[in-house]
């Protein structure tokens, strides 16, 4: 289905602060997560400081973009008007190689074919001129 991105009517993130930085990397076609410069712990969603060691020093570090499916739900009846025409669709939690998890969708696997631990890799989708969302597709194991 082709869709003019200017007509994209699904909810979008608000590009403020660290969330803008996260999505700006996505727009450039790379998935980055924060990593503590002191104890090396990865984190997502973006946070101001490291909850593990208390350090304020961190950097955006490129992810491998690869992970495995941790869990998902299949929405058979949308509970938000923007997703009425999308059902059935599956919000999926992916656990990245780095250990962080993110909520996303897997674009090339039907909801009934999803499996826990299925390997996936990031596949970006520019949904508006401003915003690119990280989605995923099936990867070789």
């Amino acid at each position: 289905m082709s869709e003019d991105s200017r007509d994209y009517e699904h909810p979008l993130p608000e590009l403020e602060g660290l969330t803008r930085e996260f999505y700006d990397f996505c727009k450039q076609g790379t998935l980055h997560f924060q990593r503590c410069s002191s104890c090396r712990t990865w984190r997502h969603v973006p946070r101001e400081m490291c909850a593990e060691c208390g350090s304020w020093d961190w950097a955006w570090v490129a992810s491998t973009g690869r992970g495995r499916i941790f869990s998902w739900t299949v929405v058979a009846r949308a509970l938000h008007p923007a997703f009425q025409d999308d059902t059935p669709y599956a919000p999926v939690i992916v656990e990245m190689d780095e250990g962080v998890r993110l909520l996303t969708q897997v674009t090339d696997v039907a909801p009934e074919a999803l499996e826990i631990d299925m390997p996936v890799e990031v596949a970006f989708e520019a949904v508006t001129p401003e915003i690119t969302l990280p989605r995923f597709r099936r990867a070789a194991s």
């Binding site: 699904h10 909810p11 979008l12 993130p13 608000e14 969330t19 984190r43 997502h44 969603v45 909850a51 941790f70 869990s71 998902w72 739900t73 299949v74 929405v75 058979a76 009846r77 949308a78 509970l79 938000h80 923007a82 997703f83 999308d86 669709y89 919000p91 939690i93 962080v100 998890r101 993110l102 909520l103 996303t104 969708q105 909801p111 826990i116 949904v127 969302l133």
Partner: protein
């Protein structure tokens, strides 16, 4: 050990769907509050503490309508559906510290005829502490509402422990059976079998329609005071043996928890039982916040009624039904009585401990547990005694 406090008043409105309550969102709560104050043998002037439900009212408006001209204690706990039971703990502390003499805990809404429960967060991200995270990282992917959020936990439980849809169904069926004995239950007169449950359409797989609480108009309220004042009122006080609340980690984002089954109740329950000096095996009934079936199973495990992973077999065979080892949600719960934010669970607990539960009375009920669940897994628990 802190001195226990007591619940001395309970009040409810009718619980309805079509055509709706016909009252304002504040009015319906005031009706339940008036009934609770009256049940306690008090007047509005004597209420000097109010703990409204988060985002559904402010103490000032309650006080101005109820005539609480001596309001000294006003506090709101931002834990969604875990707030009312957490408020029991804080109301007990307030009356025992002297911050207030009589604390009103009201709550209610037009959850059917007004803004639907399901729309809460997508309409107003400030309605929960993780709302901005949901807006920026969940909603773009259609992860927009509680049944979707929690169903990923249910799926994980099925994967790790072999929990079956039929076991979730046992919970839905038990609540529905109990509702048949409750004149105020919205689902009274609408029996449901396990076959009916399994045939209900998927909403957010693995959640079917019948895994989900109902959306209703209604309100409920309770009044808390000190044990000493409760004795003076000459009513049938129910003692708050212990109350506790807790949060999962992180509480504002639910996908990055090392242990996704460690919720707020995992912290709160051991604290409550330690303070009360009893064991889960001493409990006669449990009113468990049942926004969805799996949350009941999960809370039964974290309270310690069974081991983690054993919740599925635990809820089978009528164990959680009236007449079983641990009757759960004897009023029908959010699943089959009404979604009144879990305040109806407190009201039902008091009714059971007063011996006023009619056809659904748990025989010789002496100790009951009531829980709350809210936002992305906040939890609260109170242990109550006759």
């Amino acid at each position: 050990m802190t001195e226990p406090a007591c619940i001395v008043g309970i009040g409810e409105t009718d619980y309805v769907r079509k055509p709706g309550s016909g009252m304002s969102a504040l009015g319906i709560q005031l009706l339940a509050a008036s009934r609770a104050i009256d049940d306690a043998g008090l007047t509005g002037k004597q209420i000097d503490g109010i703990m409204p439900f988060p985002n559904l009212g402010n103490a000032e408006a309650f006080a101005a309508n109820l005539g609480c001209e001596n309001l000294r204690f006003a506090s709101i706990i931002h834990m969604g559906g875990a707030a009312p039971v957490a408020s029991l703990r804080d109301a007990a502390a307030a009356v025992n510290s002297g911050a207030a003499n009589y604390v009103l805990i009201p709550g209610g809404w037009n959850g059917y005829s007004g803004a639907r429960v399901r729309q809460t967060v997508s309409q107003d991200v400030s309605s929960l502490p993780g709302g901005a995270i949901a807006r920026d990282y969940y909603l773009p992917y259609g992860f927009t509402a509680p049944p979707q959020w929690y169903s990923v936990m249910a799926r994980r439980h099925m994967h790790e422990f072999g929990t079956k849809p039929e076991q979730l169904g046992c919970i839905a069926v038990a609540m529905r059976r109990h509702a048949q004995l409750n004149p105020n239950a919205v689902m009274r007169g609408r029996a449901m079998t396990l076959e009916d449950y399994l045939a209900s359409p998927m909403l957010a797989d693995p959640y079917r329609f019948f895994d989900c609480c109902i959306e209703t108009d209604g309100a409920a309220a309770v009044v808390v005071t000190s044990a000493e004042r409760a004795r003076d009122l000459g009513k049938h006080p129910v003692t708050i043996m212990a109350g506790a609340a807790g949060q999962p980690y992180p509480a504002d984002e639910m996908t990055n928890r090392k242990d996704i089954f460690r919720t707020g109740l995992s912290l709160a329950a051991p604290e409550a039982f330690r303070k009360a000096g009893i064991e889960p095996s001493d409990v006669d009934f449990a009113q468990i916040y049942d926004c969805f079936t799996f949350e009941v199973l999960q809370q039964l495990e974290e309270i310690g009624f069974c081991e983690r992973g054993e919740g599925g077999p635990f809820v089978e065979g009528g164990r959680i039904e009236l007449g079983g080892e641990l009757p759960v949600n004897t009023h029908g719960g959010l699943l089959s009585e009404a979604h009144v934010l879990g305040i109806n669970h407190i009201v039902e607990s008091v009714r059971q401990l007063r011996g006023d539960a009619g056809e659904r009375q748990v025989r010789d009920a002496e100790i009951g547990v009531v829980t709350g669940w809210g936002d992305f897994g906040d939890g609260s628990i109170a242990i109550l005694r006759r």
